[in-house]
Amino acid sequence: MGVIRFQNVGKIFGPRGSGFEALKDINLEIGDKEFVAIVGPSGCGKTTCLRMVAGFENATDGVVSVDGTPIKRPGPDRAVVFQQFALFPWKSVYDNIDLGLRNLNVSSSERAQRIDAILNLMNLTQYAKHFPHQLSGGMQQRVAIARAYVLDPDVLLMDEPFGALDAQTRVVMQEELVRLARKNPRTVLFITHAVEEAVYLADRVAIMTRAPGRIKEVLDVASVRNAEDWDSHEKIEDVMDLESFVHLRTHIWRSLREEKAAQHA
């Protein structure tokens, strides 16, 4: 299970009344094994949404819950992939991935098995003994994704995970994440400001307004993807060429541009 629910969620940084109102009346339900991306103008509070599910921030109003339990603190059932990777630089790739399993008191033989499997899946086996800084940005983020996936979490939270990568690496990672997510589905909340990325990866895309952020619109991408059989195309550029893809992308672009325009007015 792993149903994320935002019920009338609001977030104010600082004192009520004079503080900064980041989020207002957020209502969103993410079903079990559903992949939802949130896009929005910068500063709209999309990352705050993710941080509340992770347990790094508390909602000022309303309730954020997973499987009906309100979230109080961070935990390994909600694994986070950070934009800046956030690996432990003093631990090898293997030990970075191992740490969460040790905390869960998984037996050592099972740990070795699970780590080998995830290293293999993420093409990291030959880098197991490397330190993070010896790897490229894309490889480091692969380690971070492996560190999250190995915990077998109900919920996977990804905060602009490819934002710090160069364009080529980014495409490769997006394709890999699609493969991983289809093979091994999880409930995923994915934050991004890249529209194509959201449409390519997610089952549904939620568009947010400028601050105080609200959910403006939720688009059902999965039904279009299945109807048009996007997954038959292996490469991201082939999918991005499809008329149905372009249509959705343009729709989201327009919606975000409206927000941007309103921000400047």
Binding site: P74, A86, F88, P89, W90, K91, L99, F131, H133, L151
Partner: protein, 278 residues
């Protein structure tokens, strides 16, 4: 302080290939200074021997203190006593200072409690504690260990504290996310994360330990290099004074070297990380 540590680490490990060359330049410099010393004192007599000893006088002072002994003991006894006190005071200081720095870095509450006391005590020069220490504990080892502790404690607390505060926020959040038990969080995240700064603190603590020890021994001691310096000053014995000074220099260098080796070992990941950044 950070840059200093960067320099020393890359110096002793990062640029291994250049070390022999650097070492030979260093040795050449020392040699030139020795030649100049000989020239100024013995050869041309520009500096009178009452002001600064010649190499020969220094050598005879060294033979004197090593053989017959001087100031209550021979050189080995003095060195042993000074070294023992520095190591004890230093270890005692970091065993208390590093945990306190971790606590203050970790808990805002602890910081709020401890910082005011710290701010009052910090500006007092460690040497100003010597009279009080002697009054309380006499001229023996205990007073000196207490003074060394005072001087070495402060840098280790401050740098450990700063080191914890310097750990990247997302790295800490990743640790919370992974559900770390408290003890493991301290040993596998806080301490390694703060360790580059902790070692900077330890190096400063070690320097402070030697400074204070010699000062404390100058004020009053039965054995030790400071005692040698003190007696030599009263005896108007420049050769012996120089021997004492050189002994402190060598001991300080040696202990720093041992610490540097421990640092290079503990921070292998960081050395390479810094090198990777360029």
């Amino acid at each position: 302080m950070k840059y200093e540590s960067v320099y020393i680490i890359t110096d002793s490990l990062g640029r291994r290939g250049r070390v022999p060359r650097r070492m030979s330049i260093g040795l050449a410099t020392i040699l030139i200074v020795c030649v100049l010393w000989l020239a100024m004192t013995t050869l041309f007599g520009i500096v009178p021997s009452g002001r600064f000893p010649s190499p020969a006088e220094t050598w005879s002072a060294l033979v004197h203190v090593s053989g017959r002994g001087y100031g209550g003991g021979d050189l080995t006894l003095h060195v042993y006593n000074s070294l023992r006190l520095v190591v004890m005071g230093f270890l005692f200081a970091i065993a208390t200072g590093v945990p306190l720095g971790l606590l203050m870095g970790w808990s805002r509450k602890a910081e709020a409690f401890i910082n005011p006391i710290f701010l009052i005590i910090r500006p007092i020069p460690p040497l100003a504690w010597i009279p009080l220490a002697i009054l309380w504990l006499g001229l023996g080892d205990a007073a000196k260990i207490m003074v060394i502790w005072f001087s070495a404690f402060v840098p280790s607390v401050i740098n450990t504290f700063a080191g914890v505060r310097n750990i990247d926020r997302p790295v800490l959040e990743a640790a919370y996310m992974l559900g770390m038990p408290k003890f493991r969080f301290v040993t596998e995240v806080l301490v390694p994360g703060a360790s580059p700064m902790i070692f900077t603190g330890l190096r400063l603590s070690l320097q402070a330990s030697w400074t204070t020890l010699v000062a404390a021994e100058l004020v009053g001691a039965f054995y030790g290099i400071g005692r040698v310096l003190n007696v030599a000053q009263q005896d108007l014995y420049p050769g012996m004074i120089l021997v004492g000074m050189i002994a402190v220099a060598i001991l300080g260098w040696g202990t720093t070297r041992v610490l540097g080796m421990a640092e290079a070992r503990a921070l292998r990941w960081n050395t390479a990380a810094l090198a990777a950044k360029g």
